[in-house]
């Protein structure tokens, strides 16, 4: 069946609403407007305003309410318009959702799912374009997902709702209009493992989310040059699938991490460190990284593109890693 990423997300929400009456969707403009990115279009008509619940512009209030509703036995899906807006709810996400189970000595788990848009590439400037999922991956108590494919957009949500603990799902804005084939019987998928999207032998390109299509594109071009790149889609940023990362790096002996987040203090730094700590003697080249330039994302098209990981920069990093074969 033909589907867009957006439609796959919507099918996942609809499926969850039908499976479990405790599930409801809450956020800014999810109802009457149809979702700021049209993900929830039509769901208000199907499920009504109690379960497709429009909220005021009160990120901390409604994220906290989602956490409270989860404590009260519901299974809320809270939508935040963009990751930048989620900063207004950081208190609730970090001080409550991530901490309550621990502070309460295991008494109060928080089965809430929080979805938000992330990433750049749409000329939306510095307050709508950042990639802060790596920040969130710093926080013990959270599970961080980054669906990059239609199957994951469709299938991660239900598994996340079944998780007893808080799960944050980051949807890259550039993916919503991606279309492709989705199996008719597509359903829940695991949220524990990374996935090899393109097997290869010469270098491991490790990425997630919105940069996966860019990396696959680069891998195709590398093949024309005789470089057989493996593409690993992390899928889950916390907990990281160390086994998959290390297996790939040990096999190809070279790794390049591609991450739209900034380089300093980032998830790419974490991945690089883990490879170096655990697979150093298997490496034939230093771990490479392709990240965003360390600037707030600019508006103008040429500057925005220059700030982001590009096919060209990925090619250069992969060639350098392979060239280091000696």
């Amino acid at each position: 069946m033909k589907s867009s990423y957006r439609e796959a997300l919507r099918a996942g929400i609809r499926d969850a609403m039908l499976r479990d009456e405790r599930v409801f969707l809450m956020g800014e403009d999810v109802g009457a407007y149809g979702g700021s990115f049209a993900v929830s279009l039509g769901l208000l008509e199907e499920f009504g305003p109690e379960r497709i619940r429009d909220t005021p512009l009160s990120e901390s209030g409604f994220v906290g309410a989602g956490i409270g509703a989860a404590l009260g036995g519901m299974r809320p899906i809270v939508e935040i318009m963009t990751v930048n807006f989620s900063l207004l709810a950081l208190d609730q996400i970090v001080n409550n959702a991530a901490s309550l189970l621990h502070m309460s000595g295991g008494q109060f788990n928080v089965p809430v799912v929080i979805r938000m848009t992330t990433g750049a590439g749409r000329q939306l400037g510095a307050q709508h374009s950042h990639s802060l999922e790596g920040w969130y991956a710093h926080i013990p108590g959270l599970r961080i997902l980054a669906p990059a494919t239609l199957a994951d957009a469709r299938g991660m949500l239900w598994t996340a709702l079944e998780d007893p603990d808080p799960v944050l799902i980051f949807e890259h804005g550039s993916l919503y209009n991606v279309t492709g084939e989705l199996d008719d019987d597509a359903g829940p998928v695991d949220i524990d493992t990374a996935a090899v999207r393109r097997p290869g032998n010469d270098v491991s390109l490790i990425t997630y989310g919105g940069t996966l299509p860019t990396v696959l594109d680069a891998a195709g071009q590398l093949a024309n040059e005789g470089i057989d790149a493996e593409v690993l889609d992390l899928r889950t940023l916390r907990p990281l699938d160390d086994a998959a990362i290390l297996t790939s790096a040990r096999r190809t002996h070279r790794a390049v991490v591609v991450d739209e987040g900034w380089r300093s203090g980032s998830i790419s730094a974490e991945i690089s460190a883990r490879i170096t700590e655990q697979a150093f003697y298997d490496l034939d080249a230093p771990v490479g990284r392709v990240c965003s330039a360390e600037v707030p994302i600019p508006y103008s098209k040429q500057l925005e593109l220059a700030a982001l990981p590009s096919v060209e920069r990925i090619l250069a990093a992969a060639r350098e890693a392979v060239g280091a074969r000696g």
């Binding site: 005021p56 901390s60 409270g68 404590l71 001080n95 309550l100 189970l101 309460s104 000595g105 008494q107």
Partner: protein, 342 residues
Amino acid sequence: MTGSADVPGSHLDPAHGRHLLLQMLRVRRLEEKCVELYSAAKIRGFLHVYIGEEAVAAGVLESLAPEDAVVATYREHGHALLRGVPAGAILAEMYGFVEGCCIGRGGSMHLFDAATRFFGGNAIVAGGLPLAVGLALADKMAGRSRVTVCFFGEGAVAEGEFHESLNLAALWQLPVLFCCENNLYAMGTALGRSESQTDIALKAAAYEIAAWAVDGMDVLAVEETARRAVDAVRSGGGPHFLELRTYRFRAHSMFDPERYRDKAEVARWLERDPIVLLRAAMEAAGQLSAQDWEQLEADADAEVAAAVEFAEAGSPEPLEDLTRFVYSERGASPETGAGGGE
């Protein structure tokens, strides 16, 4: 105090009056013991005691049912105790022992108890209000006639989460009772130095929430108002708001030199000690004998002594458990948010 008919306590059932006195005394004695144990380095971290404000928790919690929920602040030992968390489990928590109500993971500022639906113990000012809204939302969506009571100080009124939460609760007509414990100081910042409008009940009214200001040193007034408010909330009347005007007799925490208020002010408020007031009223009305009072004190003291004994006998959590309770253990109550089920 005179013996006239409008004296608080004169309409009171003597047994109930003694019960309220005991509730306040239990908190007072526990808190006094906490201060002592802090000085003895048995309790560490930050410690905030509730001495002077006992009438608020005692009056409000009296009107709740077991299935209701309570969200409180970092000055919550009294709320936890009066909600039904055993004193020993509270003290053991402050000792950092596994016998504590949070097995020592929370400490003084983070008391939680699923059995009594006590949802903290929130040390971020105003951070508990959105949680209370969500708990009430869950009850409303599930068609349960439960009430969520949310305590916070007047300092929380300056936080955005206060305003977001009141708006959401009113907009969705949720069963929450907001209880603002106005003790006049956010740490050392006087209300008049932090709020352009110091009439807090007015702020709630601006959100179309029924709000009353109550003398928070008069446990009978607190109880009566809270009971009316809880009944209204439970019967579908939407959120209600109480501003409970009270005073903290002790320092903000154990590290507070109290430079921001003068001793004369504290002395004036000490004359309105809620325990002294009710005791005097009941004595004047012939409802409390010297023997009754001695018995109440003995009961409160005995409970605290037993709690200390329990905490002293506690044990530290083994180091190999350090990383437990960051994520749920598989197979452990995956079906509901703990405490959320029917």
